[in-house]
């Protein structure tokens, strides 16, 4: 097996840079630079030398096989973060027999292959590294620590129980097993459907946390949408002018609102237009606005929204610096009402995020939804009577298979274990 190494921290000038070495030769390689190595999991200060020349003074930590991130023998060299130092140590390692530079993601892949992380955990790790906001960090950490696995473990126990009850009535019909297991099976299926439905509902918010909420600013041309966007973003992201219809395409600004990732969308003003390019912009604006998680309608005077607001959507009156209106007035120029707007948007999104689950990916949602559909058809078959037991059992198997992507493999031995533990079999 090849031993791999790479810079584990970001490239560039920094206080500390960490080089990670993983594989059968990791300790040997670290030892060739550092001399006597510290005990595993104990930090030791060492001079790194190659051919008598000192490269750096570094903290060295070793991890034993089976007790490291990758599951292999690992050594970490915590260097001073100078680019020249890092380059010198990497070059020294490249020169050693049996070592090579790791490919992107290779440490994580080895962790997966050695069973140190499951697939959901790998996704969690990648999300953690990518996380920009506090909610993303918390969510990713929950997934990384196995929250998906724990949750699915509970479902799997219920599914296995339901399947075992049905299988018992099929395979042990001549034995002292309950003839009608319908009530318990239906109860288990309904429990699971409720759990899955709940988690699917929450997965939308979970995905939003991971990818960011979209908030669209909509209104008529020249309502001051771009000015508002720039004010919120704290920079000139959109071109503003007195000319109505200045914004033609959708402009996106990514920002952190109260720990949530939010993408603010500035859209073309909504009006009937003969200008072909503007018309495309308007159509696009309507589309994006309707697909967004929240809309801020920026209105003039007694204006009415051109697309129907959804619950939670905010209606504000712009250009408060130029006129006084009843209601929620803001000004992108003076900043009047901005703090209130930010507070309201944040409160609405935070409320949604609070209900978020850990299933944050399309893959998770697809698996949940396949399992849910299979449970539905299992339920129908169970209710049709015991003569359809094998079809109900087949649907339960499909539900298990659908969750397999999340849970790891379930096999018949688990069903039999459950049957033999519950019923006295053997006529």
């Amino acid at each position: 097996m090849e031993t791999i190494f790479a810079l584990a921290t970001a490239r560039g000038k920094a206080g500390v840079a960490v080089i990670r070495i993983s594989g059968a030769l990791a300790w040997e390689a670290a030892g060739r630079l550092a001399g006597r190595l510290p005990e595993p999991r104990v930090a030791g200060l060492r001079h790194l030398r190659l051919d008598g020349e000192t490269l750096d003074e570094a903290v060295v930590i070793c991890f034993a096989e089976g007790a490291s991130f990758t599951g292999e023998e690992v050594a970490e060299l915590h260097l001073h973060g100078a680019m020249a130092t890092v380059t010198a140590v990497l070059r020294a390692l490249s020169g050693m027999e049996g070592l090579r530079l790791a490919e992107p993601g290779e440490f994580t892949r080895r962790a997966l292959e050695n069973g140190r992380l499951d697939l959901a955990q790998v996704e969690g790790l990648s999300d953690l590294i990518e996380s920009e906001t506090e909610s993303q960090r918390k969510q990713a950490l929950a997934v990384l620590s196995g929250a998906v696995g724990t949750m699915v473990e509970g479902w799997r126990a219920k599914l296995v129980r339901a399947a075992a009850l049905l299988e018992a009535t099929i395979d042990f019909v001549d034995e002292d097993v309950p003839v009608d297991v319908t009530p318990e099976v239906i109860e288990l299926i309904d429990d699971l459907r409720r759990d899955l439905r709940w988690e699917m509902d929450r997965s939308g918010a979970a995905e939003r946390i991971r990818e960011g909420f979209e908030v669209a600013i909509v209104g008529r041309p020249n309502a001051g949408k771009s000015t508002l966007l720039n004010m919120l973003a704290g920079r000139e992201a959109a071109i503003t002018s007195e000319i109505a219809g200045t914004t033609r395409d959708v402009i996106e600004v990514r920002m952190d609102l109260g720990g949530l990732a939010v993408t603010l969308l500035d859209t073309a003003g909504l009006r009937e237009t003969a200008d072909v390019v503007e018309a495309i912009g308007v159509e696009r604006a309507v589309q994006r606005a309707q697909g967004a998680d929240l809309r801020i309608f920026l209105l003039d005077d007694a204006d009415v929204p051109m697309i129907a607001p959804k619950p939670d959507d905010l209606i504000v009156f712009g250009k408060a610096d130029l006129r006084s209106v009843d209601g929620f007035a803001i000004s992108g120029k003076t900043g009047e009402g901005l703090d209130r707007l930010i507070a309201e948007v944040t409160a609405i999104l935070a409320n949604r995020a609070a209900g978020a689950g850990v299933m944050s990916r399309e893959r998770h949602r697809a698996a949940l939804s396949r399992a849910f559909d299979a449970l539905d058809s299992a339920r129908n078959e169970v209710l049709r009577g015991t003569e359809r037991a094998e079809l109900a059992a087949e649907s339960l198997r499909q539900a298990l298979r659908a969750l397999e992507a999340l849970v790891g493999h379930v096999d018949v031995e688990h069903l039999l274990d459950e049957i033999f533990a519950s019923f006295c079999i053997g006529k």
């Binding site: 097996m1 292959e113 042990f172 019909v173 094998e390 018949v412 006295c424 006529k427």
Partner: protein, 620 residues
């Protein structure tokens, strides 16, 4: 020295099926057994078939094997289990008259060309150049063959326990094969120890039948063999009684005298066939356990009380048996006993049941850690066919999980091994909806014909049936009804405007063939049996299409053959634990590797990547 193509050692269910399978392939076959008149003996309960097991018997029959035919000749109470559930989980079963079964099996054996029965005890194997080439009998004579099938059941280091008494033996009244066992131990095969038990045998003349419930056979008995359509002998009922609190008290008070609870037995017993001691201890809250009183034969008063196997001493057996309703004055003809025996870890076998480390030697039946006549016979068939194929220098016959219960069982055995005596259940077959007892011939007889193990009589009836099925299906597909037309005929379907063929109407839960035939005159001429069979196919058609993706995925994985010398230690990124497991199990295909305990998707991907490299290298 006498020469044969194939020698089968042992005349039990595995041995007879192996010998017949090999002989049907045209291989000159010797069946070596201690006593010719013991061929076809049922040493445990007098019944054949059941759920999963009945499926196996049908598959054996589809390949022209003998178990199904003999069971039909001897069947005295036929029942199709799960008759009220779907056809995929219906299993044929019969009580079998011991004597009639033995006679039927011996007659079939006498009539089988290329098959010679030799009475004798096999004491040793002849191994030349790392390959088994013959056997040495206890009298010193030698027999040579290209393939040897060993079916020695529980005779390997068998020990019988009755209470705290033990004696060597594989079955009451028979001697264990100590010499052969020693020889197998020298081969350093991985061995394990299992146990099983039997109940006492009762004298039916001393049972008060008048006060007991009885269970008759089906009114419309279902045969095992596709060649038969009705029973051959008089049909009888079984009695039903129950244990009670008094029975349980007697057992509890004497647990320390039971071989198992007294600590005399180390082997692992089957969870689905526990002794009465086990039931009383593990399910202490149950105050009664069912006991079936199964007749052993039409002119035999012996009764087999199914459900009360035991290893208690004889005096305790008598007391607890007599505490059961209807058995107050019963006479025990032969006490129940537990038996411990060695088995070979089946992970040492190829899917042909040939030992990986000793070419030419095939193992089948209980010696591989299974239980049950049907499981044994099915393995015998696989070993017999493959031994013959090997001698004939032809490709092996590997049964797939996707097309037979036989395939499911063999795959479970050679990839997963056993932790308790292995018994077939329908829930073991993930493609259960398409692997049905009713379509075993449609799945396997064609395969058997291509292989050459199916005789002329079956070939004719099979091709006739297939022609009629195909014509019937065409007819059903050609009749198309609108929902309105269907409703006019009293058929309940959704009024959704979708036209449906008569075939797809049969997949509706409340439409069966007779109903359809009554309202569609064109179907009047179709044989109802053919129509009913097509209805069973139609019922699951929708599910089977969905399963086809899974089957295709499995077949793809089965197509990735892992060479015997595949070096797992050279795979970077594979945990040491998995390397060890894979090295020991040596899966033959990627599909098998995936079923090894503890296998991860990532590890499978690694193996696949290496196999792909190998394939690319081979092309270049």
């Amino acid at each position: 020295m006498k020469h044969f193509d194939v020698i089968v050692v042992g005349g039990g269910h595995a041995g007879t099926e192996a010998a017949h399978g090999s002989a049907r392939m045209g291989a000159e076959t010797a069946l070596v057994t201690l006593r010719r008149d013991a061929i076809g003996v049922m040493s445990c309960n007098p019944a054949i078939g059941g759920l999963g097991k009945g499926h196996l018997v049908r598959e054996i029959d589809a390949l022209d094997g003998v178990m199904g035919r003999a069971a039909d000749f001897a069947g005295i109470q036929f029942r199709l289990l799960n008759r009220r559930k779907g056809p995929a989980v219906q299993g044929p079963r019969t009580q079998a008259d011991r004597k009639l079964y033995r006679e039927a099996m011996q007659k079939l054996t006498d009539d089988q060309p290329h098959l010679t029965v030799i009475e004798g005890e096999v004491a040793d194997l002849i191994v030349t150049e790392g390959k088994v080439s013959g056997v040495i009998l206890a009298d010193g004579s030698q027999l040579a063959a290209g393939g040897i099938v060993l079916t020695t059941g529980t005779f390997l280091n068998g020990v019988i326990h009755i209470g705290d008494r033990q004696k060597p033996g594989g079955r009451i009244g028979d001697q264990p094969s100590v010499a052969l066992a020693a020889r197998l131990r020298d081969l350093s095969l991985p061995l394990g120890r299992l146990k099983t038990g039997t109940p006492p045998r009762l004298d039916g003349k001393t049972i008060r039948w008048d006060i007991l419930d009885s269970q008759p056979g089906d009114d419309d008995p279902e045969m095992f063999s596709f060649l038969h359509d009705k029973p051959f002998v008089r049909q009888v009922s079984c009695g039903i009684t129950h244990t009670n609190e008094q029975t349980h008290d007697i057992i509890r008070e004497n647990l320390n005298r039971s071989a198992m609870y007294g600590g005399h037995i180390s082997g692992v017993g089957p969870r689905y066939c526990p002794s009465i001691e086990d039931k009383v201890v593990r399910f202490a809250d149950k105050n009664a356990h069912q006991v079936f009183l199964e007749p052993e034969g039409l002119d035999d008063d012996t009764i087999y009380p199914n459900g009360v196997s035991t290893s208690l001493p004889e005096d305790v057996q008598e007391r607890y048996i007599r505490s059961i309703r209807g058995l107050e004055n019963v006479r025990i003809l032969q006490p129940g006993y537990a038996i411990e025996y060695d088995f070979v870890d089946p992970r040492a076998l190829k899917p042909t049941l040939e030992l990986r480390d000793l070419p030419g030697l095939y193992l089948a039946g209980q010696i591989n850690g299974t239980t049950g006549y049907e499981e044994a016979a099915a393995q015998g068939l696989v070993a017999g066919l493959n031994a013959a194929l090997c001698v004939q220098s032809r490709d092996p016959m590997i049964f797939s999980r996707t097309s037979s219960y036989i395939g499911v069982m063999i795959d479970d055995l050679v990839t997963r091994g056993v932790s308790e005596p292995y018994r077939m259940f329908t829930s073991r077959a993930e493609f259960r909806l398409s692997l049905r007892a009713d379509n075993a011939d449609q799945r396997l007889t064609g395969v058997g014909l291509a292989l050459g193990c199916v005789g002329e009589e079956r070939r004719r009836s099979f091709s006739d049936k297939m022609e009629r099925l195909s014509a019937g299906k065409d007819l059903l597909a050609s009749i198309v009804l609108t929902p309105k037309e269907a409703a006019l005929r009293g058929l309940r379907v959704n009024q959704d405007g979708a036209k449906r063929s008569a075939y797809s109407l049969l997949s509706f839960p409340d439409i069966d063939f007779s109903q359809l035939a009554a309202v569609i005159p064109e179907l009047g001429a179709m044989d109802p049996k053919i129509g009913e069979q097509l209805a069973r196919d139609a019922l699951y058609a929708h599910y089977i299409i969905r399963q086809e993706n899974d089957i295709a995925a499995l077949k793809r994985d089965e197509d990735w053959v892992i060479p015997d010398d595949f070096d797992y230690s050279a795979l970077s990124g594979l945990s040491n634990e998995l390397k060890l497991k894979l090295g020991r199990a040596r899966p033959q295909t990627l599909a098998q590797a995936g079923r090894i305990d503890g296998m991860t998707p990532a590890a499978l991907a690694l193996i696949l990547a290496r196999l792909r490299q190998g394939r690319r290298a081979a092309i270049a």
